[in-house]
Amino acid sequence: MIILVGFLALVFLALTVIVIGKTQVLLKGVKVKTEEPEDLHLDKANDWNAIGLFVFWIICIIGLAWSYMDAKKDFLPEASSLHGRITDYWFWVSMIVIMIAFFIVNSLLFYFPIKYRYKKGNKATFYPHNNNLEIIWTVIPALLMAGLVFTGLKVWNEVMDDAPEDAEVIEIMGRQFAWAVRYPGVDDNKLGGYDYRLIDDVTGNSFGMDFTDPNSFDDFTSSTEIHIPKGKPVLLKIRARDVLHSVFIPHMRVKMDAVPGMPTKFWFVTDKSTEDMRIELGNPDFNYEIACTEICGRGHFSMRLLLIVDELEDFEAWKKEQKSFLSMNPSFIDKVPDNLKARALKYTEPEIELTEVLDVTEGVTE
């Protein structure tokens, strides 16, 4: 159907071109009436346009002020992360600087038209250049830029610096179209190795966890929510399985792309637990959320991961309660090399672990 329509359109187009062509030839002999061009300068429209530009700017200022007052209540609340407060501060400082420039420049731009609009008998001032002025308005922006650069670099370097040694490491992996997280496990506090060729959605190894690495045995995963501790640095180790994704935690001012083949990272500290926020905002249903912010296909807009910030003790308790991947999927014991099977079995047979473990642990069930 579309092909037919397209074909007909092409035929009509060709016919139109041919007809126009023939008409042109015919019209060549016809004289066109010449008219006096209208006087461009002396009509009222010029004054109205000049006044309009100035009035428009006044309306803009009012609209800007009103819209900002109206919109700001929906801005994100104060950043929940420490670095976020710093970047927010510099964001607003920069916004004030540019708003000042915005007002001055636009005010002149919209004032000069009304002041210098065409008047009969008037002559413009022939003033082709002023090198001193050029220098002034080059140096001042340059100094402002330099200020923004140096402060920005300082913050950037701090945020991008290596995570502290004691940071809580959590792996977050993007895939079409959901996030999943993997924790190092309370026993060794190390993430096990992985390889994308080990990924198998059928058997459930969506992370490609490598069970020849003993660090994997206590790792546990989740695809519904991520818990992080309040008051302790969190280092997100970010990866992607299929296409580019990007971890975005708006309340924490956290963002980093997830790249297949190139693990990335981002660390931050939060001092507001989910409960703190619920109280602060007066919203008992508040939740931190993680979104994807690099186009990844059809479900890009629906990659939501619930982020829960716990008090440190609650977080540690929660971690201990989680069942390791191996214990939830004991068939993977087959992937474990023989010399490590004994250690791995501790995770697939929790009853044995209870009697043999000597350190004081809370009840492991649920």
Partner: protein
């Protein structure tokens, strides 16, 4: 047709046979006709790109809307419940960006005005190679056909956003828009790049070699400087996009791993190893950033001309304007990775690119100040072109300032890939550059078509569009500050983004109204070509050489000898002068009453200029 030699003593066209309809209007080698071909193509594409934006703005502004009324146009892309298909949403966003940046603002803006104005303003008969020029348009046309066709295929057009990052764009199994639609996109863009290169090389060669007697570089209008720098930017950066696209074609079809590594998709692990998606991003943005300057520089050049002419004043700071454009051109090549701050690349790179990016703000600011200083103490006439040029300066300033925020890597953490970025580039590119294009059409319409466009319709067009654009894009900053991500079909899945519904609806309505205002322009444009008031040769009393041609310049532009140039193009309202403008081809010996001291000394040089012989040995 191209060389200067044969025509300097010609009077009339007796030597040339009458070219038929096809050679005059279709396969023309005349730069003026090619310019009009680009212009009309650009306008058609702008309508298509604009309509696409209305569809996805409907989705964003009114998420529960029943779009069944669009089924006759969009067919399978509207489902039984009247909902827009999310994949097609992404395809619309992709095609909107591609069309507007490349087909409208590069081909439609540079292609039109570089072609039309370069020979006319430098005093040449035509471009250095009319044949190459014609090829440039027809490669663009074929590219357009392929891109247009891709909109209608069953799996849909390319859907990876206009930047088409791999692996999404490399893997058809990741996204239907990465199937045939992506292949067609890549082929169309490859042809587009060829077209751009053919054009750019022609422009630079023409400006260097075909300037008329006396037209030294320091007497060139700022439009020509802008077009030349733009062409250089394109020549050096488009090939890199071609390489990015070629490597992507290899990864898609020939099993290579330039961009792919460690991928598990649709149940199997791909064999590709060792590649990096970041490589594509570097290659893409190496063009991508100069591309935005390719888009804005011609608009800035056009504004210089329009503002000076209509203020009846020299453009303030001619040399500063040239240096700032040159500065922008050089810096444009070394700031690309500010689009990549959050890609996971080494943060040190982030620091380097942040410094360079904030430096490029300085020459841009200088240009804005110079425009405003040109208005100061002018005697300003508000033709529609002038209104759009003033609007351009406003958008350029507003959008450019938010660029300073985004160029700061630390601030970009929160703002990257949010609507703050979308607001920024729509103001500085989607509005300022479009206003430049429109101002150019209004200003040079009399020379292109020998008729005047209707002023009153022009005013209506300006006011509706100017107000509309700010109404659409100013509120968008708030949505960006609130963290709304780009390329989202809907934000209803997140509590965090379950706000600003009214604002989104407002922006959609404003967008629809702004688009309708463009219909006023299109009507005015078409109507005036056929039934507009006849123009005079120089309706704006402008100084540049194009206005010394007849009302309808024919082949070879000037019926007699090429004019010689004695002065710069900005002698407006010169003290002592008889009129408030002195065209470039009026010698100083004819204006003793207004000459500055150093200009009186240049009267002796006029004989030298007049005695320059064109090289008659260059074949046509």
């Amino acid at each position: 047709m191209s060389a200067v030699s044969l025509h300097s003593e010609d009077h009339g066209h007796e030597e040339h046979h009458e070219l038929g309809f096809i050679r005059t209007y279709i396969f023309s080698e005349d730069h003026k006709m090619i310019a009009k071909q680009y212009l009309i193509s650009g306008i058609v594409w702008a309508v298509i790109g604009g309509l696409m934006s209305l569809v996805f703005r409907l989705q964003l502004g009114f998420p529960d809307i029943d779009m069944s009324f669009l089924k006759p146009f969009l067919g399978q892309w509207i489902d039984a419940q009247g909902k827009l298909d999310p994949n097609f949403y992404l395809a619309l966003v992709t095609m909107h960006g591609t069309i507007m940046v490349f087909f409208v603002l590069t081909a439609g803006l540079s292609g039109t005005f570089s072609n039309f104005l370069i020979p006319l303003q430098i005093g040449a008969r035509d471009m250095a190679s009319g044949f190459m020029n014609m090829l440039s348009y027809w490669f663009f046309f074929i590219s357009s056909m392929i891109m247009f066709w891709s909109i209608f295929i069953e799996t849909g057009p390319a859907g990876g956003s206009w930047v088409i990052y791999p692996p999404l764009s490399a893997l058809p199994e990741a996204n239907p828009g990465s199937g045939l639609g992506m292949t067609l996109w890549l082929v169309a863009m490859a042809l587009f790049i060829v077209s751009s290169l053919l054009g750019g090389i022609n422009y630079v060669t023409t400006v260097i070699n075909l300037r008329t007697k006396g037209m030294t570089f320091d007497k060139l209008p700022l439009t020509i400087w802008a077009f030349t720098f733009t062409a250089i930017l394109g020549i050096l950066s488009f090939p890199v996009l071609l390489s990015a696209a070629l490597l992507l074609i290899f990864d898609r079809s020939f099993g290579t791993s330039f961009y792919l590594s460690d991928i598990y998709i649709n149940g199997h692990a791909l064999p590709n190893q060792g590649g990096s998606p970041i490589l594509f991003q570097h290659l893409f943005w190496f063009l991508g950033h100069p591309e935005v300057y390719i888009v804005i520089l011609p608009a800035l050049g056009i504004s210089s001309e329009v503002i000076a002419t209509n203020s009846r004043k020299p453009i303030f700071g001619y040399k500063a304007m040239i240096f700032s454009m040159a500065g922008i051109m050089f810096l444009a090549f070394i700031v690309w990775a500010h689009h990549m701050f959050m890609t996971g690349m080494n943060p040190f790179l982030g620091s380097v690119f942040m410094i360079l990016t904030l430096i490029i703000a300085v020459p841009s600011a200088v240009k804005a100040f110079n425009y405003i200083a040109t208005l100061w103490r002018g005697n300003i006439i508000f033709t529609p072109a002038m209104l759009f040029a003033i609007g351009l300066v406003s958008f350029f300033v507003s959008g450019g300032l938010t660029g300073i925020i985004l160029g700061n890597a630390a601030l970009d953490i929160q703002l990257h890939d949010t609507y703050f970025v979308v607001a920024h580039f729509h103001l500085v590119m989607g509005s300022a550059a479009i206003f430049g294009m429109v101002a150019g059409v209004y200003h040079w319409f009399p020379k292109m078509f020998g008729k005047m466009m209707n002023k009153s319709l022009g005013y209506v067009h300006f006011w509706m569009t100017f107000a509309g654009v700010y109404a659409v894009f100013f509120p968008m900053h708030y949505i960006g500050i609130a963290g709304f991500p780009r390329r989202y079909y809907s934000w209803s899945g997140f509590e965090t983004f379950d706000i600003y519904a009214d604002l989104n609806s407002f922006m959609t309505v404003a967008a629809i109204l702004t688009f309708s205002a463009q219909l006023v322009f299109i009507f005015n444009f078409i109507y005036s070509i056929f039934w507009g008031k006849k123009a005079t040769a120089n309706p704006w009393s402008s100084n540049t050489l194009e206005w010394t041609t007849p009302i309808n310049p024919g082949h070879g532009n000037w019926p007699g000898e090429l004019p010689a140039v004695y002065r710069w193009p900005y002698d407006y309202s010169k003290p002592g002068a008889k009129e408030d403008f002195i065209p470039q081809n009026i010698p100083f010996s004819a204006t003793p009453e207004s000459n500055l001291e150093e200009e009186n000394e240049m009267i002796e040089d006029e004989k030298i200029i007049d005695s320059i012989e064109f090289n008659k040995n260059i074949p046509d």
